[in-house]
Amino acid sequence: MSRGRPPIEVRELESLRAELERQAGLADTPRWNANPEDVQRSVARLVLTLVEFVRQLLERQAIRRLEGGTLTPDETEAVGVALMRLEATVRDIAGRFGLEPDDLNLELGPLGRLL
């Protein structure tokens, strides 16, 4: 170790481990769980993940069009309101099933994570 280079602290390593575990958790593909106690929640997670996936794709496309100047002000407002309400709806339904936003992120295999 060179002079002046600070050592990594234990809490920094713990923080890194927590982040790696969080990202590894995101890589778990949502699956339908046949356990009767959990079936509604697991189906909701699966469906909401797909809806959120489509919503984020639409959002990225809208931002690209915004940057490209191909949306009129009225179109920008309409698309923004639609995406905003869709996000609120997804979060509302997810909350009813005890799901956090991170639970709805997707690991897209070779494409990496959506976010």
């Binding site: 959002e59 940057e67 002000p73 923004g80 639609a82 995406l83 905003m84």
Partner: protein, 223 residues
């Protein structure tokens, strides 16, 4: 019945023996449609343990001594046989060739930025109705997710060394961001010297450096 475990794509077949892989299997190269893949034949997919991950890293480092470009493939990638491998590569040849060119003669350094709180994201005044402001806010958030202004004091010194960058904000103190830099092989010591020389200017943020690594963060196309 064994399956084909894919380690990396190479710019050329290595001039030396490829050696053995993570399951002690003999490594071999498969040439397909102008691409060269480093593979081993394994009965079971390797478990993602620390020992196996280090062994796979060692395979890639060894190969990097023998060929100009090593494009790591995502850990655990298995295909049924050489024919399936060739078919998998055939449709992606242009992007894989570009990715091999990107990492040729290069290795990766990893910076982690630590601190008690992240710098405040710039907040621009947003005009328009709620939908317009929402969309503009999301655009700002996306741009911020790829920015690491904590490193601005050292960017001038790194400019001559860094060929490409991948940045990811975590903003989960003390871990604030991870930045991957693609540098020319053999320039890692100069890179670390540049970071060390800038530590005072980087305060209050702390930066840790690891590497050089195979270019894991720059191999998205080979995943």
């Amino acid at each position: 019945m064994s399956r084909v475990y894919l380690y990396a794509l190479l710019s050329a077949a290595p001039s030396c023996e490829a050696g053995v892989g993570v399951c002690a299997e003999r490594l071999r190269v498969v040439a397909a449609d102008g691409l060269v893949a480093l593979v081993g034949d394994v009965a079971e997919p390797p478990e993602p343990t620390a020992v196996i991950l280090r062994a796979q890293d060692a395979v890639l480092r060894r190969l990097a001594l023998a060929v100009e470009a090593v494009l790591p493939v995502r850990f655990g990638t298995l295909v049924d046989d050489d024919t399936a491998l060739a078919e998998s590569l055939a449709g992606r040849r242009p992007q894989l060739a570009r990715a091999l060119g990107r990492v040729a003669g290069c290795e990766q350094m990893t910076l982690r930025v630590w601190g008690e709180s992240a710098p405040a994201a710039p907040v621009a005044e947003l005009d328009g109705g709620p939908g317009t402001r929402y969309l503009a806010g999301r655009r700002q958030a996306q741009a911020w997710a790829r920015r690491v202004p904590e490193l601005d004091p050292v960017r001038g010194q790194l400019e001559a060394l860094v060929r490409e960058e991948r940045a990811e904000r975590h903003d989960r103190p003390p871990l604030l961001a991870t930045v991957q830099h693609l540098i020319r092989r053999g320039t890692g010591a100069r890179y670390i010297e540049a970071i060390d020389a800038a530590r005072a200017a980087l305060r209050p943020w702390r930066v840790s450096v690891t590497g050089p690594w195979p270019a894991y963060a720059f191999a998205e196309d080979a995943a």
